[in-house]
Amino acid sequence: MTFEYAPAPESRSVVSIASRYGLFIDGTFVDSSSGSTFTTINPATEEVLAEVAEAGTDDVERAVQAARRAYTEVWGPMSGRDRAKYLFRIARLIQERSRELAVLETLDNGKPIRESRDVDVPLVAAHFFYHAGWADKLGHAGYGPAPKPIGVAAQVIPWNFPLLMLAWKVAPALACGNTVVLKPAETTPLTALLFAEICQQADLPPGVVNILTGAGETGRALVENPGIDKVAFTGSTEVGKSIMRSLAGTDKRLTLELGGKAANIVFDDAPVDEAVEGVVNGIYFNQGHVCCAGSRLLVQESIADEIVEALKRRLSTLRLGDPLDKNTDIGAINSAEQLSRITALVSSGEAEGAERWSAPCTLPDRGWWFPPTVFTGVTQAHRIAREEIFGPVLSVLTFRTPDEAVEKANNTPYGLSAGIWTEKGSRILWMAERLRAGVIWANTFNRFDPTSPFGGYKESGFGREGGIQGLGAYLTTEVTR
């Protein structure tokens, strides 16, 4: 016998999934006024998990009115100290129900349970704890002695980190005294609906958090509703641009967190083994469904062959399969649509002459899967070096000097994140001054913390989430309506 790990599946019995879910409006679950629904699917098995209500314009109006009422009558006037109590309570409930949330996130999204358990859910709780702490100290955050909330926030979030993106949006909004109407992605609505239950359990006043499930049309109706004061969107650059167009000429505030094509830059004096780990974590974490993923490896030419060889050796040990198995490293691609986008871009890489290598792993028969893949011989002119793939696909480019590394790293319409790998501290600082990216990691990658602001340059969006800076998106010193 060899040391083959026996299956170690996390039990899904910790979570009970209803067959149907309504919209969460004004503290209760209600059907959509049209009665229209859609299904959400486990991407690892293609099994239908639940039927979910699809919100239309009328439902959006109802939710926005509920949020407005809660803002005017309860949440806006409430003292920061009292708002904090609710947020602390929510944070503790998230911790108490963390296993349930992690299993549900994995079922609905396809990400490995190791990540939902050890990364997503703990960060979600941390975001609520962190912002709960701010709620009664906003006068000391650098936004004047008595900053005010903005009002009703419309929040539209993606499917890659469903619950974590909810936390990034909801926690600061509530801490600052706003109320929210949130639309989760159509392929991953379930943890947001469980979060709605947690709001009920925490006795959060009705209307403070409203959750509307639906697809692009629901999102459009929400951001175009005249009753909202602010839009926060995380998702594709394309949709971000259309939101910006539709908000032009209104007095709604907007923050956008969009795509990325981050460079992970490895110098010849890098801590090589840890750099290889960092590159793996940078692009194969969450199947590469990460807006700040290190999808371009920029490696110094003098060590490129060794790094690529080490990378392939390491990728051969990644374990792809059942996302609920505690030993799985790579889970399922979230949807058939996303898989076809990845496949199309990978084909373009092959057609344009880059050399493809995929890790030797067996893909399950059902569900949507893509093996960890590396392209070598990639140049700046290839589509796979320019377009966001949002999948487990790494493009390897080389550079000769630090200046060339900076030029190539910055030569992208995006600017969300970057990574620098070198043992030389002065080089880290020199590079960080020159890289145009919102987040720069040194000798690590994809490390998140609620105290650290996150956001982009250029087509990666504007506004920051997290930290003192993130509070600014939900506060005003103006007199509000």
């Binding site: 016998m1 060899t2 040391f3 083959e4 790990y5 026996a6 299956p7 170690a8 190791r114 050890d118 004096d269 890098a270 801590p271 090589v272 083994d273 840890e274 750099a275 290889v276 780990e277 960092g278 060794e306 790094i307 060889e309 080490a310 040990t317 505690k326 030993n327 043992e423 000798n443 690590t444």
Partner: protein, 311 residues
């Protein structure tokens, strides 16, 4: 990944340049890698296999001032038949004793097990080379077929790499046919950069095994230290084709810990190293916990400390 383009000749200058030219190790990154591997969930038949494999990798050790002939004989009997109630239990790999007791151990285990003796003025290594060589030769003559030597940490930390190198070469020669394990005493080297350099130094000088610790210094074996040593043997094989063993010694007390080490071995150097010829645990209390877990798997319930023998 630190495969050097060329191995150094043995002149002090090129040895020094080579060791200082090895890639650095980022401590945070190494710790997070081992923490991630520590979450691997080992169940059912895999766990049963891992426990038997771990038992077969134990160097059952007693290294006390109060060691006696009786104590060593008891240890040897335990090493041969770790669980008298279950003859399917594998023997351990070796017994590990002080050099003056190596003869007693050899007499007790015959040819069934390896006898490892600590030598070279263990644990501090503070003696002249002549004394260290005599220590080694006597242990081999008494029947030890494995010698666990300590490096001169003082010389290493003051940058006298050639002196450490020459000493290992001399001890290796004194070992004759016996296998040489070189104890780096990583708890005194402190940084993972030093662990990587000392690993290469020992392998270049002819070590058959590199070993973390004497067990007399805290911290002894840790997962990040063992990771760096495993990376070194992996890269040494890539450079020379030669497979060097790794021994994690000290501080590993539970089956759960032992399994984490096996996972680390599998996912760093591969399953080729999952053999007592290439991976060992230096331990005393670990064995009883492995036996308790083994009994639990066989019977379905936990027994207790009175159902395994103390020695």
């Amino acid at each position: 990944m630190s495969v050097p383009h060329a191995l150094p000749d043995t002149s002090p200058a090129s040895l020094r340049a080579f060791l200082l030219g090895l890639p650095g190790v980022d401590e945070v990154g190494a710790a997070s890698r081992t923490a991630m591997l520590g979450t691997r969930s080992i169940k059912n038949e895999t766990k049963a296999w891992a426990i038997d494999t771990a038992i077969g990798m134990v160097d059952l050790t007693t290294l006390e001032g109060m060691d006696t002939i009786g104590k060593v004989r008891a240890l040897c009997s335990k090493a041969l038949r770790p669980d008298p109630t279950d003859p399917t239990t594998p023997s351990v790999a070796a017994v590990c004793v002080y050099g003056d007791l190596a003869g007693i151990a050899r007499e007790a285990v015959g040819d069934a097990l390896h006898v490892a003796a600590v030598a070279t003025a263990f644990p501090s290594g503070r003696a002249s080379l002549d004394v260290k060589l005599m220590d080694t030769k006597e242990a081999v003559a008494a029947g030890a077929d494995e010698i666990d030597m300590v490096i001169d940490r003082g010389a290493f930390l003051s940058g006298e790499y050639a002196r450490v190198f020459d000493e290992i070469v001399a001890v290796k020669q004194a070992c004759g046919p016996a296998h040489l394990k070189v104890i780096l005493e990583t708890g005194e080297l402190r940084t993972l950069d030093n662990v990587r350099r000392a690993s290469w130094l020992a392998m270049l000088a002819g070590a058959d095994f590199i070993k973390t610790s004497t067990g007399k210094v805290t911290p002894a074996a840790t997962l990040p230290v063992t990771l760096v040593m495993l990376e070194a043997v992996r890269d040494f094989e890539a450079a020379t084709g030669q497979r060097i063993g790794v021994k994690a010694a000290g501080g590993i007390r539970t089956s759960k810990d032992a399994i984490k080490y096996l996972v680390l071995v599998k996912e760093t150097v591969g399953e080729a190293w999952l053999t007592p010829d290439l991976f060992r645990f230096g331990a005393s209390t670990l064995l009883n916990d492995l036996l308790l877990q083994r009994q639990r798997i066989a019977t379905g319930h936990y027994s207790g400390p009175d159902y395994v023998t103390i020695d």
